[in-house]
Amino acid sequence: MWRSVVVAAATFLCLHVGCDQSKDGSATPAAAMVRVQLNWVPEPEFGGIFAAQQDGLYSAAGLDVDIRKGGSQVPVAQLVASGQADFGVMTAEDVLTLRDRGGDLVAVFAIFQENPTGFLLHESNPITTIEQLWTSSSTVAVDANPPFVRLLNAKYGGKDLKMVPYTGALAGFLASEDAVQQCFITAEPVECRLRGVPTRVLSVATVFNPYAAVLATSAASAAKRPQVVEAFVRATSEGWRRYFAEPAKYNPGIAALNPSMSLEAMNIAAEMERPLIVPADGSPIGSMRLERWQQLERELAQVGTIESGRMPSAGVLWSAPVGTASGATATTP
């Protein structure tokens, strides 16, 4: 009798909880639930992730991916480290800072090889270099004291500069010819161009060039489900390949999720971001080098974001355990 009960319970669980029934009657494993937390609203900077989802690459890899949009105040690193999201898009400095605070994050995929952060000015503004900007008395909308601001402060002083919060909105910038704001060089400048507003962009990459957007997960989660990480990275990598092959095919789906950026702007942004995302040395999309993490670690220690002597970059790169198929992109070349 007990045997019948156990068999019945197992059948129930298989049918209703853990397994899907295929058409021929055989049971297949249920898709692994994967929550991906973005750090901004849907834009081409996440093109590969959306392309992978639109083409069913994730579901084909056995993943049920839920993409959650973010914003300037969403603490992505903390959400991932605490297990409330499985993967998150964040800056490399977010990863190292949280590792320094005890959060066990590992980076699995670099979206941006080159830092797309910049400062957006009206073309009429006489300032043409970051040094001029940082020694001026301009009002600049910028994230609250990020490492690149501290580096610029250390280099140029910036005592007269008035920094106000960066919200991502363009209204304040468009309202004043003197306005200066932080930007992604593939986003806000494109919107301005399409609105007929002539602008100038000063790239931050000349002074601070870490991986500006990486996909990270918690080390515990990666150790528990290495196949999921492997499958997610592989599908995302393929998603980026497809996205760059035909961005106009995928952008309408992204634009539908973000009414604040036009489809035309997204198509232009996709072309602009290609050289920032595809590694110049021919290595696969998503590749990372440990030296760049170590360089970032030194910069963060220099500006006091992390304490000198600690080494949060040690072990920051996830590597597929022996026995699983090799991830083409996640770690060192």
Binding site: P75, T97, A144, V164, P165
Partner: protein, 267 residues
């Protein structure tokens, strides 16, 4: 019971409550092993507060200034407008619903818009604080003046008092307890409004108010510093609330039933 013993008792119970909450929090974090970047124990928050005391004190001063000026503007405007609206029935019917709409406007949503109209930094914090603090004062003033004893109003009429004289001698004094209640509510709201304004346009760097300190600490995963800054916003709120309560007590303690009853309860 002596006044001193009564005062000690009034302070001791809230302090005991705070001590119990902090103790449970500290032990809970230690026992559960929750990461400090998610929930720091009170001891870590106290340490962060001490280590960053200079920066936090300066930031608190800036937030307090914005909240206090915003509150004073809201108090003056609320009492003045409320009195005019209460005095003129037509205005009460036409403007009061509009004033109610003001309460419904989420300041978080309109703050980016306000940024287009006023300067960054202190002006924005003042405006944001004033907007959220205005309605409680306005509503309390109108309600207080509208609830004057009809018998007394008749008496003023009988003696041929002008509307302005009746307002000064009867309506305004009658509404003081209600207005003080509105001011107390507004004091806490003014701090919230100021911080929201800072989130949108507070200056960063060495001129940062508490709203910006919170944002920067959050970005740095310094949850202990976030809690420390948030705790200081409540200190600003308490200070404003305390100041208003004291002024209110000075104004009504000798004659109003609320103050007299409270005093008798404590005996």
């Amino acid at each position: 019971m002596s006044a001193t013993a009564s005062a000690i008792r009034a302070v001791a119970w809230p302090l005991l409550g705070v001590a119990i909450v902090l103790g449970v929090w500290q032990i809970g974090v230690m026992v559960s092993g929750v990461a400090h970047y998610l929930l720091p124990p009170p001891s870590a928050i106290a340490r962060a507060m001490w280590e960053s005391r200079d920066m936090l004190t300066a930031a608190m001063g800036r937030t307090a200034l914005g909240a206090a000026i915003g509150f004073i503007c809201a108090a003056a405007a609320g009492i003045l407008l409320g009195s005019v609206i209460a005095l003129i029935p037509l205005l009460r019917r036409s403007l009061y619903p509009l004033a109610t709409v003001l309460q419904m406007v989420p300041v978080v949503a309109v703050a980016p818009l306000l940024q287009l109209w006023v300067d960054n930094g202190l002006p924005m914090a003042i405006l944001s604080a004033a907007i959220v603090a205005l309605f409680p004062v306005l509503a309390a003033t109108i309600d207080g003046q509208a609830s004057v004893d009809p018998g007394l109003r008749e008496l003023f009429k009988l003696y041929g008092a002008s509307p302005l004289r009746r307002w000064w001698k009867l309506d305004f004094p009658w509404s003081v307890p209600a207005t003080v209640t509105g001011l107390r509510i507004a004091a806490g709201l003014a701090v919230i409004g100021a911080v929201v304004g800072e989130f949108v346009s507070g200056y960063g760097g060495t001129r940062a108010p508490l709203g910006i300190v919170i944002q920067a600490a959050m970005r740095d995963a310094r949850t202990d510093l976030v809690f420390a800054a948030v705790a200081l916003t409540t200190v600003v709120g308490f200070a404003l609330f305390g100041a208003i309560s004291f002024v209110g007590w000075l104004l009504v303690s000798r004659w109003h039933a609320s103050a007299v009853n409270e005093s008798e309860d404590q005996r």
